[in-house]
Symmetry: C2
Subunit: 149 residues, 2 copies
């Protein structure tokens, strides 16, 4: 890899990390438009909740989810590994949500996130996102929302 290529990748990685950080800040503000902004229109989203897959970010569902919390929805990102080649990139790491539920109680949970991105008209766009928690294979089939990385 030439120095110019290495510099380019480092700039791209910084742009993708900034995209993730902007998402964290948008969660804090409960700003659905800002959360939705980096997603490609036809992004394939494997979400925490059913169904198995969404075609494009569902703004209504996002707003309904944001509305289940009181005050800021704090989302932190940790341990994101990012790889880039040309106009393609992927990243994987963990998110931690900490927020006050309208139903009562303070929720804190970690989940896994994989982001697949493509550069379009000079901007990185999320074309695929996979977020999840594992489930316990002890016969309970319970989502493991109490795990930490």
């Amino acid at each position: 890899m030439t120095k110019a290529e290495a510099n380019k990748i480092s700039t791209d990685e910084a742009a993708i990390r900034a995209l993730i950080e902007s998402g964290n800040q948008a969660h804090h503000r409960r700003d659905a438009a800002a959360i939705a902004a980096p997603y490609a229109k036809d992004a394939r989203i494997f979400d925490l909740a059913p169904p198995l897959s969404h075609h494009g970010l569902d703004r209504k569902e996002l707003e309904a989810w944001l509305d289940t919390w009181v005050g800021p929805v704090d989302r932190d990102s940790r341990d994101f590994d990012i790889a880039i080649s040309g106009d393609l990139a992927f990243g994987h790491g963990f998110y931690r949500i900490s927020a006050e539920s309208k139903a009562g109680g303070h929720a804190v949970f970690w989940f896994r996130a994989t982001l697949c991105l493509q550069r379009s008209a000079g901007e990185w766009r999320i074309v695929h996102e996979h977020t999840s928690v594992p489930f316990r294979m002890d016969g309970s089939f319970l989502a493991a929302t109490d795990l930490e990385p």
Copy 2:
């Protein structure tokens, strides 16, 4: 994109689809070595079961899981979208497992899969895999193992 570049991507996509299909066949044979073969040694794996993340494929755990079934573990893949740039690729789609449990009963379930790959010494290797089912946000926190794509 030149025609040569397009041909290269089409060859790479065929290689990645073959890797997925080999995994299906290896599941049918309950062949842990063949299932493990395409994973990079330090692959970061977000699995169906806890913990949140594995560093490298856990052969013992895979063998223990394969041993919970009687006869073939049939894994089908569906709707995999694959994107490639240089030595980097990602793919996302669905797997369906159909197998006879030793505990009794025939299990059939779909789950989501995201694969992140890097080419190393001419071979595509899985450097990250994320598999999951969503969970019900109705207060039950139950893994949704009854969904279909």
